[in-house]
């Protein structure tokens, strides 16, 4: 089934990660841990209202409190206007909105939006000072749900946002900030002539990425206008450009030092605190720490959008898909900017061949925090609708759900979701592997059901810089600019050691700050092992070229006759090891190091197939997860444990999305579950083991076949769980989360 394995010494093995000891002994320094000499503690005042005009802010009493060193409000921010700055995964962010996610200017758009901040000699004093700040609000009508916000007569959030993507420019501002559609063929007539049709309406609530480490940073602004920021993020270069943009200073005037990051999943590719801490530091003359509390994280950082989705999917009698009509409305939150709508519309049907399709997406603004990337942003929501519809069609047609999919999937050479022909994808192989897996044919117990679902994600490449240098004792130092969020130092060390033919333990990996290495994009888009990996391998190959030159010089032979074999330069029966060459570097031409810059566009999408067994308690409506299997084309696993870990972790996040997680708002527009007690993420006792099958169809464009694995696993679980519960109950699950009260209600109604 899989391509024959090349003979690798290290690729695919499971060595201990280089940063492991620090992380199991408590030594690793994360965002909230960093301490700068003379540091002040900051605190942020947040809006109690979901929508209000700020008539005035009086900070005098706070400033007078002993121990308070600085107070800032929106008035302290340079107003950027509509200027784009490069932000997250290749996308750009509008500085006007980036600024307002850090500090409200003139108006608040959601409960929890920052309106003022204080720096003081202790957090207790800073918190005390917040109570002394008087904000004069004029409360405005608010809208929370997609349904309410989409209505023609809904109170508009912004008077300068007009629906983009309409044929005619609208005259009235609207909360429908954007429409994006893909149309091909004639969906309506294809559906009208089909043998089997499913139509349904699906609803999902916003969910949070739920990283365990709250956002935190320390910032220090010097009298010469230069500053430093220490923070945990998915990309310190993106933090630098956004922070500089908001502050109106040059990027070279801010040096961002990456700290260890405690989870992100897309939610830490942007800024909320950094410019605020910088301004507090500028005013106070001292370094300032800002750290969010858990409820701040829920109230004021980006959830993944909720959605309302209408779908009609139609197939011929033999199961061939003939047409689809989909309309999706994504819960965009307070500010425009909606990559999720593009990617939702683009990937929704990207894993099938559907000749006639109309997919219309809307971004809908409302008084909740602005949506933000969450692992395969925009894809899980629409996939829930598509894969539920596939399940229904399989039932209607009496075709095995995996066979139905095999009939319709995209294969190498077909046009993919992003409009380019697909290369070496392992989608069919993944479906075959799922079908052959013992889980798929295992017997079910009473009240149990089995669901399958597929899903795809495009993955990404993007810019990365890496440097490789040799120590005089033959040790190897890799320097890169991609934060290590899930073990990527280990995969970089494996690829370097594999390429050089030396032991893994000889390689050390450093994540350098923004002043110490060239630009790298964020750790996101499943791109780091692919793109940064390419940079690391290229730099390593340049080092090998230098080593061959040095060996030629030392041996007195032509350079092109020297070969690099198993960690040594070889010429005939003469050889010089890497360590010998490193020791002689000083006399053979000087230091040995190389840097590589890449921006690869030859990434490949990933495909996953998930199998889920649930058991439903008919008395309570409780759904228990009994068994779960994740099958995925991973290209090639560099560090097998961390690839499996991505598959398991992503699946469990998706399972939480399906069963428990949701933002719950009160009628007053306030988040009602801004803590881990009420925002219920899966815990160990909710889960069985998550079985994984890594299908390896290597990407020929990567030296070790990498495709990127981090995002695909969250795409199929919503529907896999939904299909499983539907199989157990005989009732179609169209609304997430599938909570006990919801299931109980459906069961009683069906009686």
């Amino acid at each position: 089934m899989n391509a024959p394995k090349q003979n690798f010494r290290l690729v695919g093995t499971r060595p201990v990660r280089p940063d492991g000891i620090d992380k199991v002994t408590g030594k690793a320094i994360y965002g909230p841990d960093y301490v700068a000499a003379g540091m002040l503690q900051g605190a942020v005042l947040r809006s109690p209202h979901p929508h209000a005009k700020i008539r005035g802010i009086d900070t005098k009493r706070a400033e007078a409190l002993p121990g308070v060193k600085a107070v800032v409000t929106g008035a302290d921010f340079p107003q950027a206007g509509d200027k784009m700055v490069s932000g997250g995964e290749g996308g750009a962010a509008n500085l006007r909105y980036v600024t307002q996610k850090c500090m409200a200017i003139g108006k608040v758009f959601y409960e929890g939006q920052a309106v003022a901040a204080v720096a003081a000699t202790s957090r207790a004093i800073a918190d005390e000072a917040l109570k002394l700040i008087e904000v004069d609000y004029e409360v405005l009508p608010h809208v929370i749900s997609i349904e309410d916000a989409f209505r023609d007569d809904a109170p508009p959030l912004h008077d300068d946002v007009f629906t983009q993507g309409l044929a005619e420019k609208p005259e009235k501002p609207s909360n429908r900030s954007m429409r994006f559609a893909i149309e091909r063929g004639d969906a309506a007539s294809a559906i009208a002539g089909a043998a089997a049709i499913f139509s349904g309406h699906f609803t999902l609530q916003p969910v949070h990425q739920g990283y365990i480490e709250p956002h935190a940073c320390v910032a220090s602004w010097n009298a010469d206008g230069q500053g430093q920021v220490w923070c945990s993020s998915q990309g310190h270069f993106a933090i630098r450009s956004m922070t500089a943009g908001v502050l109106g200073i040059g990027v070279a005037d801010i040096r961002v030092q990456p700290l260890e990051i405690g989870g992100g999943f897309g939610g830490k590719t942007t800024i909320y605190l950094e410019p605020v801490a910088m301004l507090l530091s500028k005013k106070s003359g001292r370094p300032v720490r800002l750290a969010m509390r858990r409820d701040d994280v829920f109230r004021s950082t980006g959830p993944a959008p909720g959605a309302e989705i209408d779908i009609t999917l139609a197939a011929a009698a033999d199961g061939t898909l003939v047409g689809a009509e989909i309309e999706l409305k994504y819960h965009g939150g307070a500010f425009p900017g909606a990559n999720e709508v593009y990617s939702g519309v683009g990937t929704g049907l990207g894993h099938y061949k559907v000749p006639n399709a109309s997919i219309v997406g809307w971004n809908v603004l409302s008084n909740i925090p602005t949506m933000h990337a969450y692992r395969a942003p925009g894809a899980p929501q629409i996939n829930f609708a598509v894969e539920s519809a596939m399940d229904e069609l399989a039932h209607k047609l009496g075709i095995d759900p995996i066979d139905l999919r095999l009939k319709n999937i995209v294969r190498p050479g077909d046009i993919g979701g992003s409009g380019v022909p697909l290369g070496a994808i392992g989608y069919a192989e993944s479906l075959e592997a799922a079908k052959a897996h013992p889980h798929y044919s295992a017997l079910l117990g009473p009240n149990q059901g089995r669901g399958v679902a597929c899903g795809a994600w495009g993955n990404y490449g993007g810019a990365s810089t890496a440097a490789v240098s040799l120590g005089e004792d033959g040790s190897v130092l890799v320097t890169e600019g991609s934060p290590d969020i899930g073990g990527s130092r280990a995969s970089m060390a494996i690829m370097t050691a594999e390429t050089l033919g030396i032991p893994y333990e000889k390689v050390r990996v450093t994540i350098a700050d923004t002043s110490s290495i060239g630009f790298s994009m964020v750790t996101g888009g499943s791109r780091v092992t692919f793109a940064t990996g390419k940079a690391v391998v290229q730099a390593t190959q340049s080092v090998i070229a230098i080593l061959k030159d040095r060996a030629a010089k030392l041996l007195g032979v032509p350079a092109e006759e020297v070969e690099w074999v198993d960690g040594a330069a070889v010429h005939g029966d003469q050889s010089l090891t890497l360590a010998q060459l490193a020791a002689k570097a000083g006399t053979s031409g000087g230091p040995i190091s190389a840097e590589a810059m890449v921006d690869p566009h030859d990434w490949l999408p990933g495909f996953g197939v998930h199998i889920c067994d649930t058991e439903v308690d008919n008395e309570t409506g409780q759904v228990m997860l009994k068994r779960y299997t994740v099958v995925q084309d991973v290209g090639r696993a560099i560090h097998a444990d961390y690839v499996e870990g991505q598959m398991q972790g992503g699946a469990v996040q998706g399972i939480g999305w399906a069963l428990n997680e949701a933002y719950v708002y009160t009628g007053a527009g306030k988040l009602d579950n801004a803590g881990f007690l009420d925002y219920r993420m899966p815990v160990a006792s909710d889960m069985p083991m998550i079985d994984t099958v890594m299908v390896e169809v290597p990407n020929p464009a990567h030296p070790y076949g990498v495709k990127g694995v981090g995002e695909v696993p969250i795409v199929p679980p919503l529907a896999a769980v939904g299909n499983s519960v539907s199989a157990a109950t005989g009732l179609r699950m169209t609304e997430l989360p599938i909570t006990p009260d919801r299931v109980y209600g459906l069961l009683r109604a069906a009686e």
Partner: protein, 163 residues
């Protein structure tokens, strides 16, 4: 508000610190003693990232007031390894790749060690229920549970060899 002087024992060593009466033990460990291994994920007892052992009992240090530590024994992640010798639970976390970002890891290791100190032969569901107070958003728990079971097996083996 005047500060209180608290005398306690941290990882076997005597330790004194000053704190406000309403300071949490977690804040005292992190801010007063510089022991930032215990993490704050929630500050409300719901995530387990701040888990320490107080007089032999596993607690969320964010729910304990620092003055309550007076005269008591505190064990934190910083004291789990003996010198540079990792505890088997720490080693098994590394060998199984049972961490991704690692932010939850100190809490999980403290909780897992507390479990194995009292029950050297837990079943998978005992491990899962014991660790249900510790959130991990990255791993899906699979590798964590395997690491703890494997550490238990190794500790039982060690005990047998020692006997």
């Amino acid at each position: 508000m005047s500060k209180l002087l608290v005398s306690t024992t941290v990882n076997g060593d005597p330790q004194q610190f000053l704190c406000d009466p309403d300071t949490t033990l977690l804040d005292a460990l992190r801010e007063e003693m510089g022991l930032t291994g215990s993490k704050e994920g929630c500050g409300s007892g719901d995530c387990g990232a701040c888990t320490v052992v107080l007089d032999g009992e596993m607690v969320c240090s964010c729910l304990v007031l620092a003055p309550e530590a007076e005269g008591r024994q505190i064990a934190t992640i910083e004291g789990v390894a003996e010198g540079s010798q990792l505890h088997p639970v720490q080693r098994k976390f590394l060998e199984h790749g049972a961490l991704q970002c690692g932010f939850c890891t100190p809490g999980f290791i403290m909780a897992s060690k507390a479990l194995l100190d009292r029950n050297p032969n837990p079943s998978e569901s005992e491990v899962r229920y014991w660790l249900a107070g510790n959130l991990c958003r990255c791993t899906g728990y699979d590798k964590i549970v395997r690491a703890v079971m494997d550490a238990a097996a190794e500790l039982r083996q060690d005990r047998r060899t020692a006997a």
